[in-house]
């Protein structure tokens, strides 16, 4: 089993075994060195890369996606050393071969100004180190990231998907240099993030230490970006057309509208919200006190199983309400008719009633809101304590 590196040659991505990548890099490095001072240097390097990409493409197919180190070595031997026709013939190895010191020469040594990169950090990780890596990248406490993921998972199940995706996509920080880069320094604005993403994708850029070659890479990157942009815009247009169609259908079909439909939907929504909040409270109290509404978990059942049980129960209770809501929304639809007008009147009446209530009990409402905020703060504090104890 060998680690694989993705490189960009001539606008296409190729996956190479890591040792193959190193060999290719030193080949291109020494080519760039030999062509130093040649006015066509950039073009020659681009041609060479193009030829290498051609050879890679000939090797790869639907069942072979990675170029192994031996194949890279064969291809480099086929290409032969790059010789400057106006310069002296390359002497037998030695002077031209770049030392290991040339690696990563573009990123500043020293360590203080290492650009921060997103890595998984295995030290102190609970699952895959994704949260630790994210926390280090954004410079926030790891507990916050974990709670955020847990929250996203409970509410939409989206967090779990995101986590799994990141687990596969983000590289692990293994070497000390990578670990340093994971924590890095400097600002972490969105722009910076994009810049780093570009850097990571365009590994090849580091191969060249001069401005001209760098510019060439940049030019290609930009043209590729333009390609993506048009693709993206086409997709957006298609989506918009689809949405427009959906909307017109939605407004066109109103088979039947029953008086009180909007109230039923609202009531169902309130019900779901209350149950969800109760669920949150139950999970919270399970976590902090180990009990739900005074009832302790039976012995032998671990906490996480209890939490999963509570969430499942919540989903079970809210599912009929969800189904009914859907039935109303997509079956009958909110129409514009007599019944809808009545609903609107009743709705306005309810709002006036609520305003009247708030107007006559300002102190009570104010206290309730105040208590809710304070309660939320207390809850967050105790969650943090609980986490730290663990």
């Amino acid at each position: 089993m060998n680690k694989v590196t993705t490189i960009n040659l001539n606008g296409n991505a190729y996956q190479l075994e890591e040792s193959g990548f190193e060999a290719l890099r030193s080949y291109l490095d020494s080519a760039a060195q030999r062509l130093e001072g040649n006015p066509d240097k950039d073009e020659i390097i681009a041609d060479i890369e193009c030829a290498i990409a051609d050879k890679f493409r000939a090797l790869l197919g639907p069942h072979k996606t990675v170029v192994v180190a031996a194949e890279v070595a064969t291809i480099i031997a086929e290409m032969g050393p790059v010789q400057d026709p106006s310069g002296p013939a390359p002497d037998a190895q030695g002077a031209g071969a770049p030392g290991p010191g040339a690696q990563g020469g573009a990123s500043a040594p020293g360590g203080a100004s290492v650009p921060r990169r997103l890595y998984k950090i295995k030290d102190g990780a609970m699952i895959g180190g994704v949260c630790s890596g994210l926390a280090a990248f954004f410079g926030i406490d790891v507990s916050i990231v974990r709670i955020l993921f847990a929250f996203l998972t409970i509410v939409w199940g989206f967090g779990l998907l995101l986590y799994i995706l990141m687990l596969f996509l983000i590289p692990s920080a293994v070497t000390p240099a990578e670990k340093a880069a994971a924590f890095g320094g400097g600002p972490s604005t969105a722009e910076e993030f994009i810049r780093r993403a570009k850097e990571g994708y365009y590994e090849g850029m580091r191969t060249f230490h001069d401005k001209g070659a760098h510019r060439e890479w940049k030019r290609r990157f930009k043209s590729e970006m333009r390609g993506w942009k048009t693709d993206f815009q086409r997709e957006v247009r298609a989506n918009r057309a689809e949405w427009a169609q959906n909307w017109s259908r939605y407004w066109a079909e109103h088979p039947q509208y029953h008086f009180g439909a909007s109230f039923t939907v609202t009531l169902l929504e309130v019900f779901s919200l209350v149950v969800t909040l109760l669920c949150f409270y139950a999970v919270y109290s399970l976590f902090v006190h180990g009990s739900v509404f005074g009832a302790h978990l039976p012995g032998g059942i671990p906490l996480w199983l209890g939490i999963v049980g509570v969430v499942l129960l919540c989903k079970l209770v809210t599912s009929p309400a969800k189904a009914m809501r859907r039935a109303y929304r997509y079956g009958g639809g909110y129409g514009v008719g007599c019944a809808a007008v009545w609903d609107t009147f009743l709705g306005i009446g309810a709002v006036i009633l609520a305003l009247w209530f708030v107007g006559h009990n300002p102190a009570g409402v104010h206290d309730a809101l105040h208590d809710a905020a304070a309660g939320l703060h207390r809850a967050l504090d105790s969650i943090r304590d609980g986490w730290n104890k663990r």
Binding site: N10, G11, N12, A31, L35, N38, P39, D40, E43, I44, D47, I48, C50, A51, A53, D54, R57, E78, M79, G80, P81, V82, Q83, D84, P85, S86, A89
Partner: protein
């Protein structure tokens, strides 16, 4: 020192002449040139040919145009310029004189 080694510098010097000859026959791309040379004493590699072609283009002996290929990205197809044809003619004449000299000397 073998004959092969003794003639390294001469082969290198003649490569440009041969490339001019190959390109003069037809529009070709690098793989075609490599193939034409592969069976001869002048067999060479991309690492040598690309820099040479770039130099020749700078000297306005050849020019290229991008052409779509059936598989993969477009390729550079080279052809001779008027200056390149002139150079080829001169070089050919010169080469004939050399061959004549080599043949006649010491006879």
């Amino acid at each position: 020192m073998s004959i092969n080694e003794k003639f390294t510098a001469i082969r290198k010097g003649l490569l440009e002449f041969l490339v001019l000859k190959i390109v003069s026959a037809d529009k070709v791309y690098v793989a075609d040139i490599l193939k034409a040379l592969s069976e001869t004493e002048f067999s060479t590699q991309e690492g040598t040919l690309y820099p040479l072609l770039s130099k020749m283009r700078r000297e306005e002996l050849v020019d290229y145009e991008w052409k779509e290929s059936e598989a993969g990205p477009p390729r550079k197809y080279y052809e001779l310029t008027a200056k390149g044809r002139e150079q080829l003619r001169e070089t050919s004449e010169y080469w004939q004189r050399i061959v004549g000299t080599v043949k006649n000397l010491g006879e």
